[in-house]
């Protein structure tokens, strides 16, 4: 298939706040909570409730907020969601949830609810179920030098004709060994489509996480 890739929406969560092409722009300072928010953050930012948001691990919460900032209802028609793919990459993986579950084992208090979040595909699933994305799902564990692999894979899915649109994201939660220091959370998300789909580009910057992050802000 001969087509070019269009960035139809962008969203980001970082230590400053949440921002996206859907119009969201809010700081953690204004919200009065540290990144990536608490059980009330979703409603505070997006004006509606999310029944399970408060139960999510830190990485899932970060990724869900970044993808919500894409404002998918306005750029991705429901009839295209069955085929929309989801590609996520992470370097830090689930280390935060891993350490939490390991601590629960050490205390002989097995924390069953956190265990599924020790798998990075679980946070991908949290996005899929919220937006009804039933296309190909890929979760990549990437070395720091290989960051951007998800963008390349998403582009392949589009150009091969395997998906008409792809939600692609990176998510990382840096765990501080000193528990008194806050975690550092960052996620960047984008909706990619083909030029033939009629989608309008929100940025023409190079397809790189840094450019997409900048475009979201």
């Amino acid at each position: 298939m001969n087509c070019s890739v269009v960035v139809a929406a962008v969203g980001a969560v970082d230590m400053d706040g949440i921002a996206g092409s859907g119009g969201v722009r809010v700081s953690w300072h204004d919200l009065g909570v540290p990144a990536p928010g608490d059980g009330r953050t979703f409603r505070a930012v997006f004006g509606r409730s999310d029944e399970t948001f408060r139960r999510l691990d830190v990485a899932s919460r970060t990724l869900v907020l970044a993808c919500e900032a894409l404002a998918l209802p306005s750029v991705l028609p429901p009839e295209r969601r069955d085929e929309t793919a989801l590609v996520v990459e992470t370097t830090t993986g689930c280390l935060d949830a891993d350490l939490q579950f390991a601590a629960s084992l050490a205390a002989a208090m097995h924390d069953a609810p956190i265990f599924p979040y020790t798998l990075p595909s679980t946070c991908l699933g949290e996005v899929a179920l919220r937006h009804g994305l039933r296309g190909i799902s890929v979760c990549l564990s990437v070395a720091p030098a290989a960051r951007g692999a998800a963008l390349a894979e998403a582009t392949r899915l589009l150009t091969n004709g395997e998906a008409p649109a792809v939600v692609v994201a990176s998510v990382d939660v840096l765990v501080r060994p000193d528990a008194r220091t806050p975690r550092e959370c960052r996620a960047v998300a984008a909706l990619l489509s083909t030029s033939s789909s009629g989608s309008r580009a929100v940025t023409t910057a190079p397809l790189a996480w840094s450019s997409l992050h900048e475009a979201a802000r």
């Binding site: 891993d98 002989a108 020790t118 990075p120 899929a128 179920l129 990437v142």
Partner: protein, 372 residues
Amino acid sequence: MAIRVHVAGRGAITGFGQGRRAFVDAIFAGDTAIRPRGRTAAFAVPTSVAAEVPGDAVPPGLAARDHAWWFATTAAREALAEAHDPPCERTMLVLASTKGDLSGVDGAGDGLGQPWRLGARLAHELGIGGEVVNVSCACASGLVALATAARRIAAGEVERALVVGVDALHAFVMAGFGALNALDREPCRPFDRARRGVTLGEGAGALLLTRHPHESIGTAIVGHGGANDACHVTGPDRQGAGIALAAARALAHAGLTMGEVDVLHLHGTATEANDATEAMGLARLFGGRTPPAFGTKAQTGHTLGAAGVLETIVAIESLRRGEAAANAALTDPDVDPGLDLVRAPRRLVRATTALKVASGFGGVQAAVVLQS
């Protein structure tokens, strides 16, 4: 767009020991590697059994943090050897694993449960010079990795890709499945009325894929597909819609119809929900009656990130032998009868096309179509 990505080499290390031959012979003989726990006996988990790689298949004194690396290396070397050791400096590596090496999360080390670290170590060990991609899609990792590699080869981006699926038994993971009440205390019984959950296993499977027909063992990946249940992160769609969608997409990708599938290799974890919904979805996809279908987790245990690659090796063997293996431990089927569960080894009427499916946490569904 139909593709044809050839299989050039296979390797395995499982509860049956080192080597692909020992593995597939045991599967088709109806043996099981699920035994009372030995190396993992000290793990505080609610089951008496697991499918551990035998102690004589690993170097004496191998540190726990090195098991996944050793399994992966062993399977990879066997696959490369069958393919007459092609130049690794131009080969891509696609690693499939749920947690890679958990050192640093539990005990000292720097694995940190981040599969890319294991991928980097494996690539260095094997002298892989091409790109290294690490897939972590829970129990669907192996098939997603095969699709990832096949996509690159079909596009002409690489000539060869080594796909390695691996996971080692670890207290962290076993306790997690235990905490979810997903472990059977006894050996697992996929698709059976008495099924109570998963038995975990460990090991590695490796497949060397190539674009060159003359390097083929006679089997090729001709299609792949994926989907997401998009309904729950740990439970399947109640109608099995996701796994059926992935299978349908893989067949469409291959340009094949349902009637052209000769044998079906199942995910079959032995959880109540997985087996029921997998059967329902696939039976509906095939219009009420599937081709001969079998799964092998009652023999290997659920090897998680290794499962997709190991079970693809079994599906390849099924085509080569012209036979579907029996579903071990199945005495009283309790799923949609439209799933044609093989009860005793069965000769295939035709052995040209196999469909392999898998599911993972996060709603991830994947399928691969193989042809001999």
